[in-house]
């Protein structure tokens, strides 16, 4: 229904449904907020900045959102939904759990690298955008928990793994990605895939097997560390 929400409206917009136009405007505003936030930091961004970046009227902004904060939360929601959809789709192409994790992680890192402004907004700026945004950021991590939990079924010691393991693994993955985004190195994020696979799979499968899955995901296996 709203799957084309990010494309420009076709000429002759009178013929487009009101719903379509509204969706399209929302998407443009969201994109503008993400771009402005990642350039100058969320705290500094004004509604005027967003309006001028999106090329819309101030009124239109307020028809869609109550405030800058409201718009920020919608941006988070939008990006989280999109990222999660990609992860689920990618993981669904495989049968084995390890492969699903590999595909899911690859899709996640790919999304972040492809949408650096949105990712930066959701993973870096969200932390300074107030409690509601921080809470949502925390919740977005929870969305990955169920994918990882399935690993307990294939792990030889799945019954003994600590209850908080998934939370910790996802927290670690997010932290690594967050650090790269914070210093503007989003282009290098997809290259983290083999390391993050190893990190995520080792507690379930052991280092040896985790490394095999990771090696299959990487054409350039890491050289042995010195010392």
């Amino acid at each position: 229904m709203a799957s084309n929400s990010t494309t420009r409206p076709l000429p002759g917009r009178q013929q487009l449904s009101r719903e379509f136009i509204a969706q399209h405007q929302r998407a443009r505003i969201i994109t503008a907020l993400a771009q402005e936030s990642s350039e100058q930091g969320y705290q500094q961004v004004t509604v005027a900045d967003i309006v001028s970046r999106a090329g819309i009227a101030r009124n239109t902004f307020y028809e869609n959102f109550r405030s800058k904060e409201d718009c920020f939360l919608a941006t988070q929601e939008f990006a989280m939904t999109a990222a999660l959809e990609r992860v689920v789709d990618a993981a669904g192409n495989f049968d084995s759990w390890a492969e699903r994790v590999r595909a899911g992680l690859a899709a996640f890192l790919g999304y972040v690298a492809e949408e650096p402004a949105l990712a930066r907004t959701c993973m870096v700026e969200a932390l300074s955008a107030g409690p509601a945004a921080v809470e949502r950021y925390e919740k977005s991590q929870q969305a990955f928990v169920s994918l990882f939990k399935l690993g307990r079924d294939v792990s030889p010691h799945g019954g003994e793994l600590p209850e908080t393991l998934e939370e910790a693994i996802i927290g670690g993955v997010f932290w690594i990605v967050y650090q790269r985004l914070a210093i503007g190195e989003e282009a290098a994020i997809p290259e983290l895939l083999p390391e993050l696979i190893e990190f995520a799979l080792t507690p379930y499968l052991g280092a040896e097997q985790a490394r095999q899955v990771s090696a299959a995901a990487s054409d350039n296996p890491r050289p042995l560390p010195e010392s």
Partner: protein, 254 residues
């Protein structure tokens, strides 16, 4: 002029302030009666004269920092005003501005004070153990104990710091990353085979995972659950180095 005979210097306080008064004023703190924290540090005795100006000033600064921690716990960072801080510290607005130019600056001082204390406790605990796995365990235990005993300071340093502006966020990031070397020490003495399986980002991921578990509970006002995280966190952080069986053994040995 030296203040060597004052309790302040005997406690090894540095000019940037100490956490002791913050701890004293925290209602959840149990160590008020401890001889380590003489009550003079919390508040000047009324009607006492002839105290060196440096001491008075230092004491005021500490009270302001404690006042901010209390105010932030009650109102959140954004909702905290300078009036809240000066009321809690029982000093004038003018005194506030003699020490800090803004709420932000006062927050940064409070943040640094808390983190200095937290780091010291982790380091002391870590250094007391000879074997690395036990040292990691002791360090994590010290961190959880501190945060559980000081819910206000826990919130200030792990939750409110994130909304207190880019300067604090940068310090927060650096503080978290500075925990990585404690884990990296576990690489020493590992076989080439095991080392080959440890990616360069292992420590960063472990630190991020650990902090995420901790801060999520602080965010949800569930600091009473923090200490129970110890075995999980020990197992999680040792597994890459020792394998899960050995890591679980260390984690579950109380």
């Amino acid at each position: 002029m030296t203040s060597k005979n004052w309790p302040v210097s005997q406690n090894g306080l540095d000019p940037s302030g100490s956490v002791s008064s913050v701890l004293l004023r925290d209602p959840a703190n149990q160590s008020v009666d401890s001889p380590e924290y003489p009550p003079e540090l919390a508040r000047l005795p009324p009607g006492r004269h002839g105290l060196p100006r440096e001491f008075v000033s230092h004491n005021q600064r500490e009270r302001l920092i404690a006042g901010l921690a209390e105010a932030v716990a009650e109102n959140g960072y954004a909702g905290t005003t300078i009036a809240h801080i000066t009321r809690n510290a029982a000093v004038s607005r003018r005194t506030f501005y003699e020490h800090f130019s803004s709420k932000d600056e006062c927050f940064i001082a409070a943040y640094d004070t808390v983190m200095t204390e937290l780091r010291k406790r982790v380091e002391d605990a870590f250094d007391q153990e000879d074997e690395w796995p036990l040292a990691v365990r002791a360090g994590i235990e010290a961190m959880l104990e501190f945060l559980a005993a000081e819910p206000h300071l826990a919130r200030l340093s792990m939750v409110e710091a994130l909304v207190a502006g880019p300067v604090v966020v940068e310090r927060y990031d650096a503080a978290i990353q500075s925990l990585a070397p404690y884990f990296a020490a576990g690489r020493k003495g590992l076989s080439k085979d095991v080392l080959a399986g440890l990616s360069p980002t292992t420590e960063e991921a472990l630190v991020g995972g650990m902090v995420s578990l901790i801060s999520r509970r602080i965010f949800a006002d569930r600091t009473e659950e923090l200490e129970a995280l110890l075995p999980d966190l020990v197992e999680f952080t040792l597994t890459p180095y020792l394998g899960s069986a050995e890591a679980a053994k260390v984690a579950r040995a109380a």
